[in-house]
């Protein structure tokens, strides 16, 4: 069985890798700072909202980009929202694709938009996986009665 120290080390390493590989940025640290005894699940709550919101928006984008004549303003509005929620939780790579995506919307570039939808889907599922792994590690550590080290 893992000792608390080992788990703590694992969690620190994993979190650091997420920052180093650009999945998360400083905004995620801000979220962590807003979590305290009175709000012990704040980060998980907000990130869960991000998952729900992103999945809804990705589905909307699928539909919007599946039309014969593309409504670029509608596409852009969905991407704008996705960019907003990803930046609010610090999902940097999702946010980066959204910026490119919006440029293609502005240029009314169908191919570019379709490519970006693929990319943003990909980045979203990556960061979702990473965050879920991170939360599992944190739970494991809590179960082992260790405290979660802050960045």
């Amino acid at each position: 069985m893992d000792s608390v120290t080992q788990l703590q080390g694992q969690l620190v390493d994993y979190t650091t890798s997420l920052f180093n590989e650009g999945y998360l940025n400083d905004q995620y640290t801000q979220l962590q700072q807003l979590q305290d005894e009175s709000n012990p699940d704040f980060v998980v709550e907000v990130v869960s909202l991000f998952f729900e919101d992103s999945e809804r928006l990705l589905n909307e984008l699928d539909r919007a980009l599946d039309q014969q004549s593309l409504d670029f303003r509608r596409v852009d509005s969905h991407v704008h929202q996705l960019k907003g929620s990803s930046s609010s939780i610090g999902a940097q790579r999702v946010q980066n694709v959204c910026i490119v995506f919006r440029n293609f919307c502005e240029a009314q570039n169908v191919e570019g938009c379709l490519q970006c939808l693929q990319q943003v889907r990909h980045e979203y599922s990556l960061v979702k996986n990473k965050l879920e792994t991170l939360f599992k590690l944190e739970q494991k550590l809590l179960a082992a009665r260790g405290s979660i080290p802050t960045q």
Partner: protein, 213 residues
């Protein structure tokens, strides 16, 4: 001089994004503010006691006196980009309202568009925060609320023109204001009305359902 009872500052936060409402609520509560969040500009106006905004009719005169405001709001922080009424529209409504214009308004936006920022500041916004909003931003709110409070207290001085209704009213002064409006004496001397307000037989309920629309 009647002062509003010493209480926590109350901030009204307006954002159509649930994630961002959660975030701003936490940020403000961490800073010990009392927070109310709403998801649209029209709900914000409703909360503030202004008549409901009708998106189908942009000419709705929604600048009616706000004698029914039940909760004191010390600051409004609103997202810029929202469907229907934008943060800019909301800002304008507030600054057009004689009863609300003293409440400081802060705009948040995810986009750094200089023309947008200057437009908001010209219209009377105190600050423009780029999203995501951080604790260091929220720390800049307090001076605006303190300033507004001081301004309101100055306006309560008898020798001053009492044209602008105060935002931070004690119960007695709110009654006074209602009486003033009921008596239809716009130039009523504040000192006189204050004496009247002090007379013991005037124990009308605080909010008598007066709706001026």
């Amino acid at each position: 001089m009647g002062m509003a009872t010493e209480s926590q500052f109350h901030v009204l936060a307006v954002d159509d994004s649930l994630i961002d409402r959660k975030l701003i609520e936490r940020l403000l509560k961490t800073s010990s503010y009392q927070v109310t969040t709403v998801d649209s500009g029209s709900k914000a106006l409703e909360f503030l006691g202004l008549q409901e905004y009708d998106p189908s009719n942009p000419n709705t005169p929604s600048v009616s006196p706000n004698i029914n405001q039940e909760v004191e709001v010390n600051l409004i922080i609103t997202d810029y980009c929202m469907p229907g009424m934008t943060g800019y529209d909301l800002l304008k409504k507030i600054k057009e309202s004689s009863s609300l214009r003293n409440i400081p308004v802060v705009i948040m936006s995810s986009e750094n568009v200089p023309s947008r920022i200057s437009r908001c500041l010209e219209e009377g916004a105190e600050e423009f925060f780029l999203k995501p909003v951080r604790l260091s931003d929220v720390n800049r709110l307090k001076p605006h609320m303190m300033k507004a409070k001081c301004k309101d207290q100055k306006q309560e001085k008898p020798e001053e023109d009492s044209e602008k209704p105060d935002q931070l009213l004690s119960q007695q002064q709110e009654e006074e204001q209602q009486q003033q409006q009921q008596q239809q004496q716009p130039n009523n001397n504040k000192r006189k009305s204050m004496e009247e307000g002090l007379s013991p037989d005037r124990t009308r309920p605080r909010y008598s359902g007066l709706t001026v629309v």
